[in-house]
Amino acid sequence: MLVLIGILIIIAGFLLRFNPLLVIMASALATGLAAGLDIAAIIAAFGKAFNDTRYVSIVWIVLPVIGLLEAYGLQQHARTLVGRMKGATLGRLLTSYLLLRQAMAAVGLTSVAGHPQTVRPLVAPMAEAAAEAKNDALTDDQREEVKAFSAATDNVGLFFGEDIFLAIGSILLMKGLLEGYGYVIEPLHFSLWAIPTAIAAFLIHGLRLRRLEKRMMKPEASA
């Protein structure tokens, strides 16, 4: 029971808005101590895991390219392009991106798009331009919501597309665990059962994008 103290520290730390890096370290130390490990062993275990998961942080190598392109006006160009496309409304634009992201993830191409690679330089400015085209008095809060939905659309597309791919980590995890209980299941079965949810995710999020578009068409209510 005592090892649950780490979870409490995490929840309290995030709610009280302490620096999350401090909260994580405190949680790791408290959990390790509660499990009877000594401090040096906890720090070493954390260090080993940190070193093993460095691949998580290598995505930042795209920033010099994005920085170069943005300095030469990539975001402006993305906006201009949307302005030229007559049918490019906010809802249609983000729904197309949702479908594209789901389809790419479903064939295993998860790292092809993402927040630094595509959302910041292309999707968010395009979405903003599409919203501006219908409402020339877009408020800062509305702009913020359009950008937040651009990022949200990337996440929904990725999460509910990737499990259709056979060789994704989560499918291998499910297969391995069930085999441990004596159930041998082909990866294809997991993939197929991810399809109904993928369709539901597209419908639900697509509907919300349509409503977002309607909300962005008129000036924000004063409430």
Partner: protein, 312 residues
Amino acid sequence: MITLGFVYVLAGLTFALFAALGVADRSNPKRFGNAAFWGLLALSMLGGDWLGDLGNGLLVLALVAIAGTGQIGRAPSDEVPAEIQAERAERHGPFLLLVALIIPAVALAGTFLFKWVPGLADPKQATLISLALGVLIALAVGMARLEPPLLLPAQQGRRLLDAVGWAAILPQMLASLGAVFALAGVGEVVGDLIGAAIPHGSLFGAVLAYGLGMAFFTMVMGNAFAAFPVMLAAIGMPLLIMQYEGDPAVVAAIGMLAGFCGTLMTPMAANFNLVPAALLELKNPYGVIKAQIGTALPLLAVNIVFIWLFAF
């Protein structure tokens, strides 16, 4: 053969360059903190395999100390003025778009190439290696045509990374915390608690507890992978699969997706929820989560109903 080691060297050199440029930036009142932070991260990328476990742990403690005492800041924005960007966009627009698409295109092509032609690169890491190659090609093409000052990409890249700040390593930190939780047996304890709390004798009650448990525990751990083994052991296997004879493929596959709904709603999944908010410079760090809750909750309900309909 190209391995992930090549990508780590590239990342290490990039962070080292950010650190060197950062320490020279007198307009940033916290330049030494920033330089130390990115410098330590460069050391981790370049030399992590030689530091030993305790050495890496001490490196992490130093990173946390720098960020936790507020030593990271950013210079007043030296973004290229909007008029100049707009004027440049007139001239270079289509070319910029082309270069931006080089990165995903190379990542795509490389992923297939490295799987079909063995020996070129580690096939298990094909996409990450291709992504790094895409960055190098895009940078070379962009530099050749635009002829910017040599250090401009690094300076602008540093500006973007300083805007993200310490949140840049939050995903890696949370992944490491997961390893400590596993070592301490947190999952088993939570599994026992949930297993004891669910109502007996009701199939739908068990399905509901399984789906909600997956989402909730994923929110706590930030990761459905960490929640899945626990919930499978606590409810999925003993009740849904063995007692009620549900289809194990459905219980596992859709249960995992119920967990993904939790991922959409938690700050613990920092790389999906908090980092993009920083990268898009949103005022509300939880803005992305706010936008996702309206999709995650109905989809969670749909997943629970799907398990109930399809597994039994």
